[in-house]
């Protein structure tokens, strides 16, 4: 804990509770998503309006993606996959609103990766049976057990750090860029207002937040689907 660096700030809550801004931003995002979902689905019509068409398209897209990736029989995963996709997309784009993306915190990404890890193994055991599941660790032959074990343990780590690293990398670069542009503004133009920070960061935001952010949320979701459905085969 300190005042330097790029870690999440600590926020004081009533009753002396302390959480990081990761959690408060997550709460805002949750509230926003839930409010939008509630508004969009509270009055469903047979002949849909514009709002309903958007919501139906999103849900249908998620359902179709789940069906294509995990198979028709695993359509029950669609709500979680959809939640993951929507939450990650909004969380990764939070940087555009000047918020610290919750995914720029290892606690968030590891939380999601641990849920995926738990899903991989619980659904693996449930569909294969415990015997076949354990046997899977000794294949193709028993000496590979440690490697298989490491591979399984590496999954949540690689999942969480891939997402975290991409987002926090973007965050750091953007922070440095804003700092540098502010510095240039005062050094070259002798202004206290960072005028150079107008416009230039937009290009970097498009790459780090829009492109990288959406791509990473897609990758995380796809990998979750692939890992879980592979564990169930």
């Amino acid at each position: 804990m300190g005042t330097e660096g790029f870690g999440p700030r600590i926020v004081e809550l009533p009753f002396g509770l302390q959480v990081t801004e990761t959690v408060t931003v997550t709460w805002w995002i949750m509230a926003g998503i839930i409010l939008l979902a509630w508004l969009a689905t509270r009055n469903l019509q047979m002949v849909p309006g514009k709002r309903q068409i958007v919501v139906e398209t999103i849900v249908k897209m998620i359902n179709n993606l789940t069906k294509q990736t995990m198979g028709e029989k695993n359509i029950k995963f669609a709500p979680y996959i959809g939640t993951l996709m929507i939450f990650l997309a909004v969380a990764n784009l939070a940087g555009l609103l000047g918020l610290r993306p919750p995914t720029a915190d290892i606690n968030t990404t590891l939380a999601l990766a641990l849920i995926t890890f738990f899903m991989i193994h619980s659904f693996g055991i449930r569909t294969k049976g415990i015997g076949k599941y354990v046997k899977g660790f000794f294949e193709p032959f028993f000496l590979l057990f440690p490697i298989n074990m490491l591979g399984e343990l590496a999954t949540p780590i690689s999942l969480s750090f891939r997402l975290f690293g991409n987002i926090v990398g973007g965050l750091i670069i953007m922070s440095l860029l804003y700092g540098a542009l502010g510095g240039f503004s005062s050094a070259l133009l002798s202004l206290n207002i960072p005028v150079l920070a107008v416009g230039v960061p937009a290009v970097f935001h498009i790459y780090f937040d829009l492109f990288s952010g959406l791509l990473q949320s897609f990758i995380f979701t796809m990998l979750t689907m692939v890992y879980v459905s592979m564990a169930m085969d």
Binding site: T3, I34, V55, K60, P79, N107
Partner: protein, 177 residues
């Protein structure tokens, strides 16, 4: 920890795993449960419902079309029958009209013949009447002429029979010439 630093300026380490991990797991699960309840389940169920409804409507339409297709031969048969019937009606009407025409013509002809015959008879009668009148006149004139010749009254009644007989003979030959 520096006591002068506000809580909002305090930062966690960049890669520090702490109990926020549990909070974030809980947050994710809450978001998942809420979205499943208010977004994914109702919207998916609703789309399925609509899909089924559309399907059932298409099925109903297909059924109706099938029924209609089955009715086509029946109705075309009916139409053909009606056409035939119409033709038959027209044909019989024409036939009846022809018959009636023939009848009327025949009747007219018959009537014309009748009229002609009766007229001829009348003419004949008139002719006989005229001849008789003429004969009487001639007889009278003959008696008158004869009485002038012999200067003596011929007794009309006495000689009439004789004269009539004469005239009858003469007249007959005269009329036949």
């Amino acid at each position: 920890m520096n006591v002068y630093v506000l809580a909002s300026e305090l930062r966690m380490g960049l890669v520090a795993i702490d109990w926020m991990l549990a909070v974030q797991i809980a947050n994710t699960l809450i978001l998942f449960l809420v979205l499943r309840k208010i977004l994914f389940k109702p919207v998916t169920a609703f789309m399925e419902k609509r899909e089924n409804e559309v399907k059932s409507q298409f099925d109903a339409a297909a059924l109706k079309k099938k029924e209609a297709d089955q009715l086509i031969p029946e109705y075309s048969h009916k139409i053909r029958n009606a056409e035939d019937e119409g033709k038959e009606i027209v044909r019989s009407a024409v036939q009846r009209a022809d018959k009636r025409t023939a009848e009327i013509l025949k009747e007219a002809e018959h009537k014309a013949t009748e009229i002609k015959e009766s007229t001829q008879k009348e003419i004949e009668q008139e002719k006989v009447k005229a001849i008789n009148t003429l004969k009487n006149d001639i007889a009278d004139m003959a008696i008158l002429a004869a009485s002038k010749v012999i200067h003596k009254d011929i007794d009309g009644d006495q000689h009439k029979v004789l004269i009539d007989q004469f005239i009858q003979e003469v007249g007959d030959t005269a009329w036949h010439n």
